[in-house]
């Protein structure tokens, strides 16, 4: 049982080190996604399957896709134009092996760990929802206001400003 935790932890640490030390931004982002998936397996092992699903959906699915879109828009990858580099096995053999290890770890953990569903032993998602909308109701509303401020701020920052200066007054 404990070995699953250690394997996922080692995968997370290795992929995080590769993510912060990489040269190509896209490769680092893919390593970071692998790190988030490994942490998600750890969440599952810590009896929080709902949080593990949220980690995969929101972190790896939404936030990292946002990163990848921006990276592709900016085109800062140094070797993104050279397609034949992708066929170089040295580029993808390490993340493939790490992903395969993580996948086997997760499958074996699913088979070997008994799913405890009784309240009191584990925290069920139902308890999380009840606590979220009773004890922490004010915090939920503050988070909603924060999200709205984020939407407005991102729209304001993302829109291209219209030029108001006459072209004779522009400084060269």
């Amino acid at each position: 049982m404990n070995i699953f935790f250690y394997i996922a932890a080692v995968v997370a640490l290795i992929s995080t080190i590769m993510a912060i030390s990489g040269k190509n931004a896209i490769h680092s982002l893919l390593y970071l996604i692998l790190s988030l998936l490994a942490v998600s397996v750890i969440f599952y092992l810590l009896d929080a399957p709902f949080i593990a699903a949220l980690e995969v959906i929101i972190y790896a699915g939404a936030i990292m896709v946002l990163f990848i879109f921006v990276t592709m828009m900016l085109n800062v990858g140094t070797e993104s134009s050279k397609v034949n580099k992708l066929t170089n096995p040295r580029k993808w053999i390490v993340p493939s092996i790490l992903s395969a290890i993580l996948f086997m770890d997760f499958i074996l953990a699913l088979k070997n760990v008994p799913a405890s569903t009784s309240a009191g032993q584990v925290v069920l998602p139902k308890q999380v929802g009840i606590s979220l909308f009773s004890t922490y109701l004010l915090a939920v509303e503050i988070a909603a206001i924060l999200l709205m401020a984020g939407v407005i701020g991102a729209y304001h920052l993302g829109s291209q400003k219209k030029k108001v200066t006459h072209r004779f007054l522009e400084k060269k």
Partner: protein, 104 residues
């Protein structure tokens, strides 16, 4: 039931946080700095989940959901800012954006 000692779990979260901090301090590319901030957010959430598992209370998981919301807002704003910086300076180097620096 996971029987890994809680010290080991906290140590793992701490190492993950430290890696994010090292990445934030070492890398000068803004995308890498944002990625390092994500790693640090994630390890902070991991500590909350470890504590929730230790005391069998739902509060830790609730806090993780709040961290998730804050992270989503932070990433959206930061990436929009990053696009503006790239439009103005044509680079993503954090040291290039120094117009607020006091030159005396």
């Amino acid at each position: 039931m996971l029987t890994v000692p809680i010290e080991i779990q906290i140590l793992f979260a701490g190492i993950l946080f430290l890696l994010g901090l090292i990445g934030l301090l070492v890398r000068r590319n803004m995308i890498y700095m944002l990625m390092s901030i994500e790693i640090m957010f994630n390890s902070a959430g991991l500590v909350f989940i470890i504590a929730a598992n230790r005391w069998k209370q739902p509060d830790g998981q609730v806090m993780f959901i709040f961290i998730l919301a804050v992270t989503a807002v932070e990433v959206a704003i930061a990436l929009a800012l990053l696009l503006q910086v790239y439009h103005h300076y044509k680079t993503l180097d954090a040291d290039a954006v120094n117009k607020l620096k006091d030159y005396n």
